[in-house]
């Protein structure tokens, strides 16, 4: 199971200075790794810093501090041409609202081929078209769709266009930020099945950011739980769902409604209020429960949470 990390994030901080006195610590010292062909799920309430992590990794932001290593190359400092190209080709992002990032005046073929165009990754028009056709097949769109415009597609189809656009670059890592959140359940299932299929075929790793925990559970090999810019717990999907340690993780999991009415009517979510919890994230260190599972805690907290 042990696979080489393709992405290594170490003590990443992303602070936004809002005024002289006020800085938003959106991400405040987060470390994790993603291995080749693996799906790492990032969960946590909105505002916890999930998107910011994704954006810092793909360098839509310049990280405040910390390092990000991608395929062994440090991509967190000033980027040279070569690193820039590596980043823009081998790492791709899929967003929540596919429409927002699809140019409405461009045909699907040109949207999908955009990365190829920028990086001149074909010799002839024919080769370009063949590449697009192959990707269209892969994401379950028909080749005739290539000449249509985005508004002529349903939400699920647009998300497939978004995936196609990322896939055509043959990335090693795809960051999917709430990529299926806006879709219908049945369409979500189709897109998730598609992502899994692609992963099996191409061994692409995914950073899967979502607030819907049941899909994260289904798709992820490992999961990181974020709260207020801190990674409070990380582990395999089983570690997190079957043996959660951090009170925030427990609270989060308890909030997922189960499709069992008699049981669900009686269950209430476990509350968690950081302000009154007595927990100070800045005092915690990553305590190892097992090789795969760790939690942010002080020694005393760790003892208390794992007792009994």
């Amino acid at each position: 199971m042990e696979r080489t990390p393709i992405l290594q994030v170490t003590d990443l901080k992303q602070h936004f200075k809002m005024s002289k006195k006020f800085t938003v610590k959106a991400v405040d010292g987060v470390s994790f790794e993603i291995r080749e062909g693996e799906t790492y799920g990032l969960v946590g309430e909105s505002g916890s810093g999930k998107s910011t992590i994704g954006r810092s990794i793909i360098r839509l932001y310049q990280p405040t501090s910390g390092t990000v290593t991608f395929q062994g190359v440090d991509i967190s400092g000033p980027l040279k041409e070569k690193e820039q190209v590596l980043l823009r080709t081998k790492m791709q992002m899929i967003f929540q609202d596919p429409m927002a990032c699809l140019n409405p005046r461009k045909k699907v073929i040109d949207i999908i081929a955009q990365g190829l165009d920028i990086h001149k990754l074909y010799k002839t028009k024919q080769e370009r078209k063949e590449k697009v056709d192959r990707i269209l097949d892969k994401v379950g769109l028909s080749r005739e769709h290539a000449n249509r415009y985005p508004h002529q597609f349903s939400g699920g189809q647009r998300q497939r266009i978004g995936i196609a656009r990322a896939l055509i670059m043959e990335p090693k890592l795809i960051i999917a930020d709430e990529a299926i959140s806006a879709l219908d359940v049945s369409i979500q299932a189709q897109v998730v099945n598609l992502m899994k299929e692609i992963q099996e075929e191409t061994n692409t790793a995914f950073l899967f950011i979502a607030h819907d925990l049941s899909m994260v559970k289904y798709i992820s090999d490992r999961i990181g739980v974020l709260h207020l810019g801190n990674l409070v717990e990380t582990g395999t999907t089983q570690d997190i769902f079957d043996h959660p340690i951090h009170p925030y993780t427990k609270s989060l999991l308890s909030a997922i409604p189960h499709a069992n009415p008699i049981k669900e009517k009686k269950r209430v979510a476990i509350p968690y209020d950081y302000a009154t919890s007595g927990i100070d994230y800045s005092n915690g260190i990553q305590q190892k429960i097992s090789d795969s599972h760790s939690v942010l805690a002080t020694d005393e907290e760790y003892k208390a949470w794992t007792a009994g």
Binding site: A182, V192, P257, A259, P261, A269
Partner: protein
């Protein structure tokens, strides 16, 4: 069973489009009982939003109500009134019903918020106009409501404008506004779809809490079956502009009868083992531009019978509360069962429910 607050009968709605008439709602019946929650589930495009917007008389220009009635039963002082909402003028709706007696929470909170007004003003406004509260009373109640919906530091938040709040906070503010006038009916159209599970859980628990106290009746639209299990007393499964199965929440989850309901339940991600593919219902919903022959679900139904393509099935009665529109329930149809996978899953869920609740009588669903 408690009295009926809202009763929709034979509702039919179409839209005039450049491609022709879209028959979005095709003879829909729905009941809402006092103090209860009915959840409407179904794929997008099945007509959930159009239906509830019709209750509020939110119509778009190209929309036509072809037939039907929406009867609203309410107390006005000591008089019991039974009013077909479709017969009221827009003006009467606005002054007597909307916001006051029937309130609606949309998926996008900005639909209901005024970007130029502080949220404090917006929560207080209805109470001052409809309930004749003094400013001080309204202010006090607004703070209480904000606390209720889980907004910290309500004093300061009252002075904020909508754009200064996160999406989750905006939706909670909308719910506070909607609850401010103690409406009899609350319609929620996917209110928590874009929200965090923790906030969602709070909002769902909040709605139930308020319901226990005020006997408000709720129509809740969602595609999350977990949410349905949590909030609903009754469930209506909608497909292509019709209700194809309805029953108590236990009947729908533990004893579903319509193949479309089977499909919805099967596509939940917690079904089956880890590496299994997620189930998806084959095909896609019908194009409502075209006239539908027989059962609208037939082309996607692996169990479809010949008659399914010719004649529309009536609602077959399973119990006093449970009905489904599928020819599979006809006495002459050969017996067709749900998939093995779904059967096993339901068995497991029933067992869990039984283990948890000593005094729940599972035989009674």
């Amino acid at each position: 069973m408690s009295e009926t607050v809202l009763s929709i009968r034979n509702l039919s709605i179409s839209f005039q489009t450049s491609n022709g008439m879209v028959n979005a709602i095709r003879g829909l019946d729905l009941d809402l009982h006092k103090g209860k929650t009915v959840a409407i589930v179904g794929e997008s495009g099945s007509g959930k939003s159009v239906t509830v917007k019709a209750i509020m008389r939110i119509l778009s220009g190209n929309q036509k109500i072809n037939s039907g009635s929406i009867t609203f039963n309410f107390d006005s002082g000591d008089e019991k009134i039974s009013q077909d909402l479709l017969k009221l003028s827009k003006k009467e709706m606005r002054s007597r019903i909307n916001g006051r007696r029937i309130a609606m929470v949309f998926q996008d909170p900005m639909t209901s918020l005024n970007p130029t007004m502080t949220i404090g003003k917006q929560i207080m406004e209805g109470m001052i106009i409809h309930l004749n509260k003094t400013r001080a009373e309204a202010h006090e109640r607004a703070l209480e409501l904000l606390r209720l919906v889980g907004i910290s530091d309500p004093e300061n938040r009252m002075k904020s404008y909508p754009h200064q709040l996160s999406g989750g906070m905006r939706q909670r503010v909308v719910i506070a506004i909607m609850l401010a006038c103690d409406p009899e009916v609350l319609i929620c159209d996917e209110p928590t779809t874009a929200l965090d599970v923790t906030i969602q859980a709070k909002i769902l628990e909040l709605i139930k809490e308020i319901q226990a106290r005020t006997h408000i009746s709720v129509i809740y639209i969602t595609h999350d079956l977990g949410v349905v299990a949590k909030v609903a007393d009754y469930v209506a499964v909608m497909y292509a502009g019709k209700i194809v199965e309805r029953g108590t929440v236990n009947e729908i989850f533990y004893d579903p009868k319509h193949p479309y309901t089977w499909g919805l339940l099967s596509s939940m991600p917690d079904i089956g083992s880890e590496n299994e593919k997620l189930y998806t219902i084959p095909g896609s919903p019908p194009n409502l531009l075209h006239k539908i022959e027989g059962d609208a679900f037939a082309p996607r139904n692996v169990h479809a019978l010949k008659i399914d393509f010719k004649q529309e099935p009536p609602m077959f009665k399973i119990t006093d509360t449970h009905y489904a529109a599928t020819w599979l329930l006809h006495e002459n149809a050969s017996k067709v069962e749900m998939s093995e996978t779904l059967r096993r899953r339901i068995d497991k869920v029933v067992k869990e429910a039984g283990r948890d609740g000593e005094n729940t009588d599972l035989a009674s669903y």
